[in-house]
């Protein structure tokens, strides 16, 4: 038995640290707020409230006449088509680069470090993929609108390049983080790199790769709407037109259709991933 009487601690020992980190965070956030002119209260100034009310008030009644709905339907379909075609092209870009950059498929790395030539080639391909994906599809779209003119082609090409980079990089990460025992054994037993890919690496990671691709397709639908604003066709372009004409009813209809489309894509993608998982 100890003789000292236990006393309840005066204060929580973690308290000081907590106070320090919260104040440090606030101090760090302050210049960011200044830099972005972050003044949320301007939203509720009477003048701005009036503008907002006018804009939102224009949303009603929704434009629902047959002619406009036909147009919306066509543009929606065009948006889906743009996303799908873009993603397909992105796969064409991504797959060869993924294969080229994959460290698991290195024969020289089976024993000890990878040979210098292949290592540099793989690193170079990686950097190229990073370059592709670090330029937003919006920028690519602006470039392609100049080159191929207004319309969905620019959107498709933009999605293909950016998403090609993203898919290539993430595919590489999936393949290298997964189980490599099978692939290594196939290579050790003398099969070629592509054979080892199709018989070892691909079946091991197929579910994850497909699930990621489906998820990206959903993202592509959302981003193809944004691309429309710079003239790449689809729902976004229509929305841009209606906004410039101050036609609130059309904007509201388009927004609702857009929300429904994203929700639907989300459902389809979730269902597909579940079926594949």
């Amino acid at each position: 038995m100890s003789t000292t009487v236990l006393r309840a601690p005066d204060r929580d020992p973690a308290w000081l640290g907590r106070v320090f980190w919260i104040s440090a965070l606030l101090v760090l956030l302050w210049p960011l707020g200044v830099a972005t002119e972050f003044k949320p209260w301007v939203l509720v100034e009477p003048r701005n409230l009036k503008v907002t009310a006018q804009f939102l008030g224009g949303f009603w009644p929704l434009t629902l006449n047959a002619e406009f709905m036909g147009l919306v339907l066509r543009e929606t379909w065009r948006t889906v088509a743009m996303a799908t075609a873009g993603l397909t092209l992105a796969l064409v870009v991504a797959i060869p680069f993924t294969l080229l950059s994959n460290r698991v498929l290195s024969i020289s790395a089976l024993v000890g470090p990878m040979a210098r030539g292949p290592a540099w080639l793989r690193q170079g391909v990686r950097w190229f993929l990073v370059f592709l994906r670090s330029i937003p599809e919006l920028v690519w779209a602006l470039v392609f609108v100049r080159v191929v003119g207004l319309g969905p082609t620019a959107g498709v090409l933009a999605i293909a390049l950016t998403y090609g980079g993203m898919l290539g990089k993430v595919y590489g990460e999936i393949l290298e983080s997964g189980e490599t025992h099978t692939t290594q054994n196939l290579l050790r037993n003398g099969s070629g790199r592509l054979q080892a890919f199709f018989y070892g690496l691909l079946p091991t990671n197929a579910a994850e790769l497909t699930s990621y691709t489906v998820y990206r397709w959903e993202c592509a639908i959302r981003s193809s709407v944004v691309l429309g604003f710079v003239g790449a066709g689809g729902l976004g372009q229509q929305m841009d037109n209606s906004m410039k004409m101050f036609n609130g009813g059309e904007v509201a209809t388009l927004l609702l259709v857009f929300i429904a489309l994203v929700a639907l894509a989300d459902q389809v993608s979730a269902w597909l991933r579940k079926a594949l998982g």
Partner: protein
Amino acid sequence: MKIDLQALSARHPAARVGAVPAIRLIDLQIASGEQVAVIGPSGAGKTTLLQVLACALTPTAGSLQLDEVAPWRLSRRALQRLRGQLFLAPQVPPLPPRQRVVTAVLAARLPAMGLLASLRSLFYPNDIPGAFDALDRFDLAEKLFERVDRLSGGERQRVGLARALLAPAKLWLIDEPLSALDPTRSRQAIDTLLGSARERGVTLVATLHQVDVALAHFPRVIGLRDGEVAFDLPAEQVTRERLAALYDQFEHELRGEVTPIPENNVTTPQPVVMHCR
């Protein structure tokens, strides 16, 4: 295939530089068509020896010759072609969980198949009778079109062994073929392996924890202890005293009390971050 090792040392690729090599100064000659069991307590270097023979590990010293050829003097391409003549079956069978058994078994043929033929075989297995026969010899014929992840551990191990029968190899290197099998299955598996190796004139080197199986079935037994050859004798000359010396302080392994469980390193892959941007 003829094997010739001269004063060969090797260390595990993950070992620290300067660490004691896993196998040291091994001199070993194995004639073409011979059947050899390698026994010894855990950590004796049995698996490392197999990996060196499979050209999956570069020796740190000494020389390795397979059919009078020094593999590590070959170009990378020629070495990979040579690996096609070696079949290494690791203790954990390298089978992708979602692959069908027929595909997994036929994958052993890859070194002898062109890329186009191997792709075609993914759509329609190119030698169903061959795969069926190989599986049938391990009593697994009815599992031909099952998925690998529907099999039990023992069945998976036998699928891994059945691959040997289809591999275009002249040297079979089999690591712990019986670790997940019950005694009846063990006897059947070892009979099939030895019988098929004899039919084909294939050289067979197997590491075994079951000393009784090694002595009863293999004409030649090598005892490995602390990375060195303790004895290399015809099975009938391996006396009780020699075994006692080999397994000194590892008696429980000699009595077969601990059957090594193949660590199932089927790691669940890291979930990929689903980021849109």
